[in-house]
């Protein structure tokens, strides 16, 4: 029996696949047509094939629970791709490049003259309270004045179709390897779709990443030694660290593999003796990077790494301190930051944001907690949030207290009617909320991934897309307009 699609109902949200009840968007028609032809058995077989491929390729992530400690989970994947038209994507791409350029200028300014503060565009007190500003980085000049070499920005679409940036991840953003894996799995289980569509490829990312890393090598040698620094196998993104290192042909190192000598040169311990390292793509947070400078109890980092970086003997991506712009209060200022440094209007909008540090905005937020989403400034992974419309009175009271105690640490945003995408649920299609995380690389040149990582909230009505909390993912296709 063919699959019944007549019950599909986006229920007032913008749907990425359907423009109305049982009406696929033009560029999704062929996908849905193909899908209609399948019977339940065929669908189940493909879902199984996808699961098996994920299991056998070992595409997994780690989660932590109080009960069981660390557990490996297979990557949750929905086989139906999410499609975006190229014309729309081109605008998003330009917007992301603009945004990251401005953010890099901003970070560099904060660690040097702080003109933006002197000119009254960015308040000194926000910087003074910033958890991720690193005084140890003041005055350092990384190559090409780039601090955030890899940025992952989360995009969402509201009910009217407008795309917003929800947040920028400038510390150690992860997820890009899953973007590549998703495409591989789709090719494996749905090869015939690629006869009717030609989605732009995504698998050149590791090459681009490598080019970018080479471009920040302080030593101009033919083949600079690039390494990926991981906290180790117990990190939730370890799969990605290993994958990227392998794809780039770079060594995957842990802190104990590296040491810094008296001349401030970084070496790795190899079977043939010490070998010099030029660029470190570090996937360890600032605090753990160098026990000589940051947390003294860190066993993940490398003593002396900051000395070597400051002396210009090693490239670090992302640069220590780049996270200063990865802060939900700073986020609220990004449109001003873009205007200030680039003299341009932002191409992609920010979600309207109430900054609890300002009395008027805080009062509005406190009075409307039931309608707003409240986020702490420096948490990631969807932790520590209040989602007003689905919250209890007790939760709202708790957050009101938290905000009053530390207003600088909170922002509030209206709940967006985040768009949905057709997702397979029990042999049927149902709308599920979705976001998109593209990755932006900045070195000598700036580039954006083709699409990015699409994350889906698999639970009905849920807005939480994080894989650690019941989120899944989809392959993301950028297709040329008029292919329909």
């Amino acid at each position: 029996m063919a699959i019944d699609l007549t019950q599909y109902n986006p229920a007032g949200f913008y749907d990425e696949t359907f423009s109305g009840k049982n009406r696929a968007r033009n560029y999704c028609k062929k996908l849905i047509k193909r899908f209609r032809k399948m019977d339940e058995e065929d669908l189940a077989a493909r879902q199984m094939a996808a699961e098996l491929a994920i299991k056998e390729k070992g595409i997994s992530f780690r989660i932590y629970t109080k009960k069981d400690g660390a557990i490996d989970r297979n990557w949750p994947f929905d086989i139906l791709p999410r499609i975006i038209q190229k014309s729309e994507w081109d605008v998003i791409e330009a917007g992301l490049i603009q945004r990251v350029k401005a953010l890099n200028l901003f970070i560099n300014d904060l660690y040097h003259e702080q003109k933006i503060i002197k000119d009254g565009v960015f308040p000194a007190e926000v910087l003074a309270d910033s958890k991720n500003f690193r005084p140890q980085c003041v005055g350092v000049n990384p190559p090409s004045a780039i601090w955030a070499h890899v940025c992952g920005s989360d995009l969402v679409r509201d009910t009217d179709g407008t795309v917003y940036v929800l947040e920028d991840n400038l510390r150690v953003p992860s997820g890009v390897s899953y973007m590549i894996a998703n495409r591989e799995v789709t090719k494996h289980v749905f090869p015939e779709l690629f006869e009717t569509y030609a989605p732009l490829p995504v698998d050149d990312y590791p090459t681009r990443l490598h080019d970018m890393l080479v471009s920040v090598s302080p030593r101009k040698v033919k083949r600079p030694e690039v390494v990926v620094l991981t906290p180790g196998i117990y990190n939730s993104a370890y799969y990605e660290h290993a994958y990227l290192a392998h794809q780039m042909g770079a060594e995957l190192v842990e802190g104990r593999d590296l040491f810094v000598d008296k001349e401030n040169i970084v070496y790795m311990r190899t079977v043939a003796g010490p070998q010099r390292v030029d660029v470190i793509y570090r996937r360890i947070d600032d605090e753990f990077l160098d026990p000589e400078v940051f947390r003294k109890d860190s066993t993940l980092g490398v003593p002396g790494l900051m000395r070597a970086w400051k002396a210009g003997n090693v490239g670090l991506a992302n640069a220590p301190g780049a996270g200063v712009a990865d802060d939900k209060v700073v986020y609220a200022f990004v449109p001003d930051i873009i205007r200030y440094y680039l003299h341009e209007e932002p191409i992609i909008a920010n979600v309207p944001t109430y900054r609890c540090m300002y009395k008027e905005e805080r009062e509005y937020a406190l009075a409307n907690l039931d309608k707003l989403v409240v986020k702490p400034a420096n948490e990631s992974g969807g932790y520590g949030m209040l989602i007003g419309p689905v919250s209890t009175k007790a939760e709202r009271e708790k957050f009101a207290k938290l905000i009053k105690r530390n207003p600088r640490n909170y922002i509030a945003q209206p709940t967006l009617g985040i768009s949905t995408v057709a997702t397979i649920v029990d042999k049927k299609l149902e709308p599920r909320h979705v976001d998109l995380r593209p990755f932006i690389l900045s070195g000598k040149k700036t580039m954006v991934t083709t699409g990015g990582l699409t994350r889906v909230a698999l639970r009905k009505g849920s807005l939480v897309v994080n894989s650690s909390q019941g989120g899944g993912s989809k392959d993301t296709w950028i297709v040329a307009d008029g292919e329909d």
Binding site: G58, E251, R256, D257, V271, T299
Partner: protein, 319 residues
């Protein structure tokens, strides 16, 4: 190549080989027990002795019954050398060095591990045991074949091979030691008259997949001295100690700064080459095997000292 990675790969090679050898041991013992006259109880205890795990076994089990020994060797995660533990360690190591090994090899090991884990209940039944062990052995061989045919023969490959062949050499000495020590006598002649002893020697050969080759190439009769010579000194049989150590030596030979490990290895080889097997008393054989195992351990130590992460770095990490 990173010192840490060399170490992880070396141990992965050992763990995979250990899983396969353990499966071989259990399988052959199963056959042997079925063959033995019911009045003679050959039992399962020697398997615990071979693997050197008497202490750990006694901690968790009362009696070396078939059920207990098989469970301990196949699926007990308290036993660090059980098939399941070995494959779990190998998989963790492979995962850590995933960027070094071919992707298909990782997939193959992952599949083998999942098979070992998911089918373990069936493997613990008498009916399902043989299929389970066959699955482990063929999975390991498939992995070895895959590594041999697609892996770039760089340092990683050599460390993997050193681990694998060292483990195999050691396991062969263990199998000879235990199976030979519970035999009735030292004499060659008496063997031919004792049905039980020859079954035991056949089981030694079979557990090493050596039975057919031995009969074809060495001797149609199953006799102690030629068997010992074959298993210790043959240079063409891939599970013979000499063969394994030749291949270890070849791999160590490709590494830089190999003087000390090579010296330690050659000391084992020298002992192998000079020892006469003829008329070797049982207690002398046992002592000889002990000495070989100590020398193999010394070689491991020399290798670790030269190539792996310094102890200090590891200690710092642990703190």
């Amino acid at each position: 190549m990173l010192s840490r990675v060399a170490e992880e790969i070396y141990w992965a090679g050992r763990y995979i080989e250990r899983a396969e050898n353990t499966a071989r041991l259990i399988r052959v013992n199963s056959n042997l027990v079925l063959d033995a006259p019911t009045v003679v109880s050959l039992g399962w205890e020697p398997l615990i002795t071979i693997t050197g795990l008497e202490g750990s076994f006694a901690e968790h089990y009362k009696n070396p019954t078939e059920r207990n020994v098989v469970k301990f060797l196949i699926g007990d995660t308290h036993n660090p050398s059980s098939i399941l533990s070995s494959l779990a360690f190998a998989r963790e190591n492979f995962r850590t060095v995933r960027e070094i090994i071919p992707r298909t090899a990782w997939q193959s090991l992952n599949k083998l591990y999942l098979f070992a884990k998911e089918s373990v209940q069936a493997g613990l039944t008498q009916k399902g045991r043989d299929d389970y062990l066959e699955g482990i052995i063929s999975g390991s061989q498939q992995l070895n074949g895959l590594l041999a045919s697609v892996m770039y023969h760089d340092e990683a490959w050599h460390f993997l091979r050193i681990g694998k062949d060292l483990e195999r050499a050691e396991m062969t000495t263990r199998i000879i030691d235990v199976r030979s020590s519970d035999l009735l006598t030292d004499s060659d002649e008496l063997f031919n008259h004792s049905g039980l002893s020859s079954i035991e020697w056949i089981s030694v050969l079979k557990s090493l997949s050596a039975y057919a080759i031995y009969r074809r190439e060495i001797d149609v009769q199953v006799r102690r001295t030629p068997i010992l010579e074959f298993l210790f000194n043959n240079s063409r049989f891939p599970r013979a100690v000499s063969y394994c150590l030749d291949s270890v030596e070849e791999s160590v030979g490709t590494l830089a700064h190999n003087t000390k490990p090579l010296k330690a290895l050659r000391s084992v080889v020298r002992q192998l080459n000079t020892q006469k097997m003829e008329n070797m008393k049982q207690d002398v054989l046992h002592q000889y095997i002990d000495e070989l195992q100590i020398k193999l351990w010394k070689f491991h130590t020399a290798l670790a000292k030269q190539y792996f992460l310094p102890e200090v770095a590891l200690a710092e990490k642990a703190e």
